[in-house]
Amino acid sequence: MATGTVRTSRRPDADIKAIPVRRPWRWVATAVVLGLLALLLTSMVTNPRYRWEIVARYLLDGSVLNGLLLTLQFTAIAMVLGIALGVLFAVMRSSDNKVLSWTAAAYIWFFRGTPLLVQLIFWFNLSALYPTIQLGLPFGPTFATLDANTLITPFIAGVLGLALNEGAYMAEIVRAGIVSVPKGQLEAASSLGLSKSMTMRRIVLPQAMRVIIPPTGNNTIAMLKTSSLISVLAIPELLYSVQIIYGRNFQTIPLLLVASIWYLLATSILTSVQTRIERRFSPDRDPGASYGSRLRRNLAARRARVKEDR
């Protein structure tokens, strides 16, 4: 059994410097994983079928960059609309009015309960269900009649599908944030005579942000990748633009690598932005809690121990 022994023999009043417990299995696991990683890396370099020269040629290709831009635009638009819908439906869901709260519940149930891919194709084919869309009063006069085929472009179908789906998830996130604020906060605000809307804006939502922001960041990152589903609507976003290219030259793998590199880069940037925003919204968190700083601290402690042992 490996246990730490304490060297106190020489000076019992000295600070304790225990010899750490030996962990041989940790070293074995490290060696196995490093070995596998080395194998993977060598194959990536030596296997000619990766065709890295084609990856390099298309990485900055104009249509690929346009596709990346379109992906970023869809992510941004879908998230902005999704958050707006989410706040709206979260407030409706917590309303005392049963019709409002059940409508919101039904919306959330439907859009979370059906696959996004199905929803996208559904919106794209809306004109089969409603050939014309009329603007007017219910059972009253009609002001304008629009042809659904021209109104629902692939772009509109894509935005509708992504935003309505995201709205359902955001509604639950926002509601969780509102519910997380202790009841005592509402009572304190009431006892001061604050109105309901003032309480929501000044007391509840600022405190709910801590709970709302981390999953919203995760959803934004997920949306960046999920938006690749709109490639089925023939919108030349990142995935579809590389599909167009490999449809011509049959270099499927290198071009999927091109798309993956851009997706990874974009998600990495978003992740670091998310970490910064989260840190700003929780000022009482340990500032040295990031992985890098923990690693540096551990290494420094280890070096100090090694020096002591000599």
């Binding site: 009572e187 304190a188 006892s191 005579g193 109105s195 007391i203 405190q207």
Partner: protein, 253 residues
């Protein structure tokens, strides 16, 4: 003369749980009433009814001659709308067991918030008043501290200043020292003692019998949703008339 607070036959149910079973009480301006009794006796619920945090199911409650939560026209009682309820609450200060300071605001911001948002006082006037109040509760050095950086006693004193900033006619205290470490109880009671001396009308739900004896003008003993006995605190504490009061006091004194 009419009492500042008057309750007549107040009943309160939570579902099938009958919490208040006909409370009759009255409190004159400038007086301090201490509510004591075992937990579950309804004393906190009664306090919460006084500023309409709970709606009452039967009876009537007046503060400063105004019916709380309702408007009577002939036989009919109309619920007050949100704005009218807010106006009534703004004149009644409340201090909670768990402080309930707003954690995203500093001590000063906590105190300034109500006057600025509800009474539409100017920022400068509200800040000056808030600084004076915080100085009075002994927190001149903590103006810009966040609640998380303060002890429980300090937080509760900020909460008292926050309630006072609305210049209330009446202060309600719901077990203000029950969540505090024993050595911090004194600083909060000192502030309340000072308020009573200045003539603030107060209803205090408390387990601090020494405070009730010293500061209270009336002591009300409640059990199982009714007022068992009430009177001069020294008299009630020294010579309780009812068996239930005797049993309770023998456990806490």
């Amino acid at each position: 003369m009419s009492a500042l607070v008057r309750a007549e036959g107040v009943h309160k149910h939570f579902g099938r749980n009958h919490v208040l079973k006909g409370i009759d009480l009255s409190l004159d301006e400038g007086q301090v009433m201490c509510l004591v009794g075992p937990s579950g006796s309804g004393k906190s619920t009664f306090l919460r009814c006084v500023n309409h945090l709970e709606t009452i199911n039967r009876g009537r409650l007046w503060v400063d001659g105004e019916l709380i939560g309702y408007r009577q026209s002939g036989e009919a009682l109309h619920e007050l709308n949100d704005k009218e309820v807010c106006r009534q609450r703004a004149r009644i200060g409340m201090v909670f067991q768990s402080f309930n300071l707003f954690p995203h605001f500093t001590a000063l911001e906590n105190v300034v918030l109500g006057p600025c948002l509800v009474k539409k006082e100017s920022k400068a006037a509200a800040t000056a008043h808030a600084e004076e109040l915080l100085r009075r509760v002994g927190l001149a050095e903590k103006l810009h501290s966040y609640p998380a950086k303060m002890s429980g006693g300090q937080q509760q004193r900020v909460a008292i200043a926050r309630a006072l900033a609305m210049r209330p006619r009446l202060m309600l205290f719901d077990e203000p020292t029950s969540a505090l470490d024993p050595e911090l109880v004194g600083e909060v009671l000192d502030v309340m003692r000072g308020l009573a001396r200045e003539g603030m009308t107060m209803i205090v739900v408390t387990h601090e019998m020494a405070f009730a004896r010293e500061v209270g003008d009336t002591l009300v003993f409640m059990d199982d949703g009714v007022v068992v006995e009430s009177g001069d605190p020294r008299e009630v504490l020294a010579r309780p008339r009812h068996l239930r009061t005797q049993a309770f006091l023998s456990k806490v004194l």
